[in-house]
Symmetry: C2
Subunit: 435 residues, 2 copies
């Protein structure tokens, strides 16, 4: 099966930052086999394609890669806003999450996946519990995902052992499943929720099975201080000394990180998932993203969960990433639009250790989205990259493809029943004993 998409504005997201005004792209099975500008194309013959799709001037870009989140928590959207982080987490989130079972997780995850797909995310990282349930939603929906059973070690040793076994078993069972759309990681929740020996046990398993590691790190100033109080060092040195960074690692947040710690992140090629909305909303602070970028540290974008965002639209994260560092540093040159786009696509894929997606290039798997530019807020229409970052939202997305297969068509998910999922999410929420 060979399909030619033509007559679109194609933003490749590749290293040269190329974009094609009269773009075409040929997809064979799940891969891009040709891409370029029709104005300089030679030797194309329609006879060679099974199907030709006219993009009618639509903008095409790589699907967003959301590198940090907890999908099931979409059920708690708006449940407890505008509270101090500790109270929000300990008195609101944890007691509610304590009631989550596989059905709750299915309802919340399906809700999240509908929202992500409709707003142009083609790959998301999920760190949560009941991960087989999450994996099944991923399989059914057509989206791509990087999944990890997040483990919190604040429990008796036998429970620690059980959780770690579960996490490892899940990672091994689901890695490369769903036609390769699912990959897995190992995930100690955070330095402040996992004792040092437990983090070591987890990364031993990761090393043994060649799985990358995902962990929350230095989200709040308080948590950094606690790490110093408990272990005599800041989180970056702590994790390095535990051997975590010997493995491919993605840290989430990295808001409170000093220059010396950046040296370490840079040295070990640790990837950073920047979660601008969540860090703002919880009052955690503003991550030193311009410094990370200057050092060549790979920075990607995450929504975190809808309980602290309160949405899962990567256009919003990219816009915010392009805006807040300019304002906070009083530097209008910080995080230009092209870098924000890359953080959400190419660098996102690199952050979750996928090499086959994140840009539209020959040989890549065809994960892409289309946007209808024929709307007032995207005019004049001469600067698609600027408009994608500063002016568009996820609601401008029309079609979504993963591995060359269409999974959203004209704003409708093809493999998920949105109406039923909305109904079930509300039912699942009502069933929880609200605290």
């Amino acid at each position: 099966m060979k399909t030619r998409f033509e007559n679109g504005v194609i933003i490749t997201g590749n290293k040269q930052n190329a974009w094609f005004k009269q773009g075409y792209m040929v997809i064979e099975d799940n891969k891009i086999v040709e891409i370029g500008d029709a104005e300089i194309e030679v030797g194309s013959s329609n006879a060679q394609y099974d199907q030709i799709i006219d993009l009618k001037g639509r903008w095409v870009m790589p699907g967003w890669v959301n590198t940090h989140g907890h999908a099931a928590m979409s059920l708690l959207r708006g449940y407890a806003d505008d509270l101090p982080l500790k109270e929000w987490l300990e008195q609101k989130m944890w007691p509610m999450e304590g009631q989550f079972n596989a059905d709750t997780v299915r309802a919340g995850t399906a809700l999240a996946v509908v929202e992500m797909l409709k707003t142009g995310t083609t790959c998301f990282l999920d760190m949560y519990d009941h991960m087989s349930t999450v994996a099944k939603v991923v399989e059914e929906s057509g989206i791509r995902a990087v999944l990890a059973r997040g483990v919190i070690g604040l429990c008796p040793e036998e429970e620690q052992i059980r959780k770690l076994q579960e996490a490892t078993q899940f990672a091994l069972e689901w890695d490369h499943q769903a036609n390769g759309r699912i990959t897995t990681m190992m995930s100690p929740h955070a330095p402040y929720t996992c004792p040092p020996h437990y983090i070591q046990n987890i990364i031993e398993q990761a090393a043994k099975h060649q799985l990358p590691v995902h962990i929350h790190m230095s989200e709040t100033a308080r948590e950094v201080q606690q790490n110093v109080d408990d272990y005599g060092k800041r989180p970056v040195a702590h994790l390095r000394d535990l051997g975590v960074f010997e493995l491919p690692t993605l840290v989430a947040h990295a808001v409170h990180v000093n220059e010396e710690e950046m040296d370490i992140l840079q040295q070990y090629d640790v990837k950073v998932a920047h979660n601008p909305t969540s860090n703002l909303k919880l009052g955690s602070g503003i991550a030193p993203v311009p410094s990370y970028l200057k050092r060549g540290i790979t920075v990607s974008l995450g929504t975190d969960s809808a309980a602290s965002n309160n949405k899962l639209d990567m256009f919003q994260e990219a816009r915010l990433a392009a805006l807040i560092h300019k304002g906070a540093g009083e530097d209008p040159l910080a995080v230009p639009a092209e870098e924000a786009l890359r953080m959400g696509t190419k660098w996102g894929a690199e952050s979750v250790f996928l090499s086959q997606v994140g840009a539209l290039e020959v040989g890549m798997e065809a994960d892409f989205i289309t946007i209808n530019p024929n709307q007032a807020h995207l005019q004049p229409a001469h600067q698609p990259i600027s408009h994608i970052i500063y002016s568009a939202t996820g609601q401008d997305v029309e079609d979504v493809y993963v591995q060359g297969k269409q999974i959203v068509k004209n704003k409708e998910c093809l493999f998920l029943d949105e109406e039923r999922i909305i109904y079930e999410a509300n039912q699942a929420f009502q069933k929880l004993n609200q605290v």
Copy 2:
């Protein structure tokens, strides 16, 4: 003509912050004559209405009031991003704007009004040139507006005089026109673009004709320093000493304002238009909004122009206002959702000196919008105010009413031809000699 809207979730935006789960609202001619919750309603009879509209569970809220902008500059959306402010303004914006004529202004303003209406803004402040053209677009579209010919005094005296005459004449001619939907202000552009005597001449006219004043103030640190260098005082003292604050005044930006200056703003009841996106994007900084609110200073929200935003969606401004002050101050309690909503509605109306709009209450003119909550990103649907601020965008707006008259129906402007306006905006942009 008496119309009853029923079966909606009505967010009144009034002082008690009331919202009705089974809301109804009765509009007679252009005003709200009844509003409440059907569950506790007594004595309603359908016979008394000319028309009954079933809101089918939609959320209803006051239309947004956008208190600072330059609509015509939508033509320059994405034209010059990611540049230092001085270069952006002097080398990009001003040379392009220097070529604007009435046709350009019409094209840009119509584009802006389509975008604002479709994203739920029912009233906008515009400070620009060719204001009769702007007023005509307002008249035709059905939107409400507060208009001022912004005058820059960096020119020979005779031109200053001509501009001031033009501004005064415009203000007198259009005040209370378009069925009262248009009101006018006088607007010296900024302390750094108007010599002191010229500001005094302008406010003399404002005082004479009882018009309020709108002015840019303390947007950047550099501009504050320049004011000190040129006049020996910071902008707030400078404007107070010139007598500006003796008149009802709305200042735009107010990013770099110290405690002493806040005392003055508070003393004179000066209103502040907070433009979070624009201040971030241009690297101007983050306004001390939590301090303003603590003092009871009226803070409202503005998009500024699409050249520095790059959109005109007040949902985005409200979201950003609710987010950035939490992050910048590491205080998750700063600017809760309810305050962000009020900044965009009630306090917006107060900032542009309108008492008949900004909340849904008996006696108010009926400027309101509806949102379809039946979407994944607004679920679970139990917290409409949270979801409006943190999760919705302007693209969730379905219907818009101004003075009880419907002007957007199912996401389409009823009195503007969006397709033609998009075409004309692109044509007008192409005609400019790009610098």
